[in-house]
Symmetry: C2
DNA sequence: CAGTGGTCTAGACCACTGG
DNA sequence: CAGTGGTCTAGACCACTGC
C-alpha cells in the first residue's frame, strides 16, 4: 500500500537530459503525462482507490509526482476518456464503477423499438444454470486459459415486459470467481458487472463484440419462447479487465422483433 | 469567403465582465474554446477549407480569433476527437475526408472471420439499380423530408472473394444529389462517401445504426445467392452531415457466415 | 467559505516534417 | 532551417460543491 506522501520520490523521469530514453532502435519517446497516466493506472489496478471512491485531487497528485497540475490534468483527461475515472466539478475525480444509476448497463446496446430511453432498466432476470466445469478449447482460447482449466458457466434469460428477449451463456475463469453460485447471483440486485466489482474485485474495463445473425434451434426457441428457426442476433462478447486481460466470454442471443442493437459511428 | 486577416474583429466574446451571459434562467455558460470550436466548425461547414486541405495553423487561428494558442488547441482537440479534422505533427491540421487509405470504410464494421485486417478493402461492387422517385413516408421521416419529396434510391451488392455478402438499399435526398446516376457511381473508384464528398460536396460526419436479425426473402436470396430463410444481419443506418442533418438512409443486409459485425465497447 | 475541477494565458522548449 | 503540432510549466481566475 502506497502512502499519500512518499518517503523518497516517485518521479517518473530521472534523466536530466531530454526526458527521452537514449536508445537508438526504439525512439520510445513517451511524454510525461503518459507516464503519469501509467502511474495512476497502476494505482487503480492494485486497488489503491476502490470503485466509486475519489482519487486524490489534481494538486495532490501533482505534488506526489513532482509535476505541474496541468500535466496531471492531461493524464486524468485520458483516463476519463477511457471511462476508467469520472470527473465531477467541485467534488473530485472518482474511480468509475458499473454500480451507478446513470452508467448502468453501459455494455448493453439493446434498445426497445418504442420509448427510446432506458425504461428497460429493471429487466426480469432468470438464472437458468450455473455450474463449474473444464474449459472447452474455444472458451479457453477466448479467456487465455489452458484447455481443461476450471471455468464457470452461467446461463440466464433476461425478459422485458414478460417477453424473454436475451438468452446468455457466460463463461468466467474459475480462479478469480471462486465461490460464485447461482444463489449469490440471484440474490444480487443490479447489474452483473457491479456484482463482479463488489464481490470479486473484478472490474470490466472494455469489451469487444462479434455480431451475427443465426437461426434459433429448439433449445433457444424454448427458452426464449419463439418459433424454431426465428432469426436471432448472436452477440459474442469478450470483456477485459485492466491490462487487457480477458475475464468473461459472453454469448448472447437477442430477439430483435421489438428491440434492436443500437450503434453509433463516428 | 472569409479573408485570412479580418477587417474589424471576429472575437467570440464582447462583454468585459465575466465572459458569462448575464441571464438568470439559463446559465448558458460556454467556455471560450467551445465558442472557438463553433467558429472553426462554421468555417468547415461553409467549406472555407475543403476535405483533405490544411486548415490554418494554431498560431494563425489564435491571431484571427484573438485568443491564446492553448485555447485554439483545445478547440481543435475536440474537433479531432469528433473526427472532423486530423492532426499531423510537423505538417498541420487537415479537414478529414473519407478518401484516405487509412480511414477508408470508416463506417463499415464488417470483418472477415479469418485474416483480421482490412484485406476486404477492394470489394467487388455491383450497382443493381439507381432511380429517382418520391419518398415513402418512412424514408421521408428518416431523412427529415416531406412524404413525396424527390429521393434517389440506389440498390447495390458488395462481394468479397466472389461471394455476395452485402445487399444495400440507399436512399438519398434528391436536391443535394441532383445529377447522380448509376453510371457515375459505377465510374468512381473508392468509397461511396468519398464520391459524395468530391462530386456533391456532402461530407458524412457521423451515423447511427439499428441492427436486427431477419430472414432472407426470395429477392434477398437471389441477389445474395443464399438459401431463402437464411438469417441475415439487418443494418439500418442514418448518416448525418454537419448540423446533424440526415443525408442518407441505408438499409443493409449482411451475410454473416464468413463475416461478422465488429463492435468495441468502452 | 475552502476545496475541487475547469478555463485561459504566456512563454519555453521538444519532436516531427519538408524544403 | 523554419514552420508545424505536442509537451510542460506557473499562475490567475472562474464555476461548482458542500460545509
Amino acid at each position: 500500500m502506497v502512502s499519500t506522501s512518499l518517503p523518497s520520490h516517485e518521479s517518473p523521469v530521472a534523466d536530466g537530459s531530454a526526458n527521452n530514453v537514449a536508445n537508438s532502435a526504439t525512439p520510445a519517446f513517451s511524454p510525461l503525462y503518459q507516464q503519469i497516466k501509467g502511474l495512476i493506472l497502476n494505482s487503480l489496478r492494485i486497488g489503491e482507490w476502490k470503485p466509486g471512491e475519489a482519487i486524490p485531487s489534481e494538486m495532490d497528485l501533482a505534488g506526489r509526482f513532482k509535476v505541474s497540475q496541468g500535466t496531471v490534468r492531461k493524464a486524468i483527461d485520458e483516463l476519463a476518456a477511457d471511462n476508467l475515472v469520472v470527473r465531477r466539478q467541485g467534488k473530485g475525480t472518482f474511480v468509475a464503477t458499473h454500480a451507478e444509476r446513470q452508467v448502468q448497463y453501459r455494455f448493453l446496446k439493446l434498445m426497445p423499438d418504442s420509448g427510446d430511453l432506458n425504461l428497460k432498466g429493471p429487466a426480469q432476470r432468470h438464472i437458468v444454470d450455473c455450474k463449474r466445469l473444464r474449459a472447452p478449447s474455444d472458451v479457453a482460447r477466448a479467456l487465455a486459459l489452458r484447455p481443461g482449466d476450471a471455468v464457470l458457466q452461467v446461463k440466464r434469460v433476461l425478459s422485458f415486459a414478460d417477453q424473454p428477449t436475451i438468452l446468455e451463456d457466460l463463461w468466467l475463469p474459475g480462479a478469480p470467481f471462486k465461490g460464485l453460485t447461482a444463489d449469490r447471483l440471484r440474490g444480487y440486485e443490479g447489474p452483473m458487472y457491479a456484482f463482479f466489482e463488489t464481490e470479486f474485485g473484478v472490474r470490466m474495463v472494455r469489451a469487444e463484440e462479434k455480431i451475427r445473425a443465426i437461426s434459433a434451434d429448439h433449445v433457444h426457441s424454448q427458452l426464449l419462447k419463439v418459433e424454431p428457426l426465428t432469426p436471432l442476433l448472436s452477440v459474442e462478447r469478450i470483456a477485459f479487465t485492466y491490462h487487457d486481460i480477458p475475464m468473461e466470454l459472453r454469448r448472447g442471443l437477442y430477439v430483435t422483433d421489438t428491440h434492436y442493437y443500437r450503434n453509433e459511428l463516428n
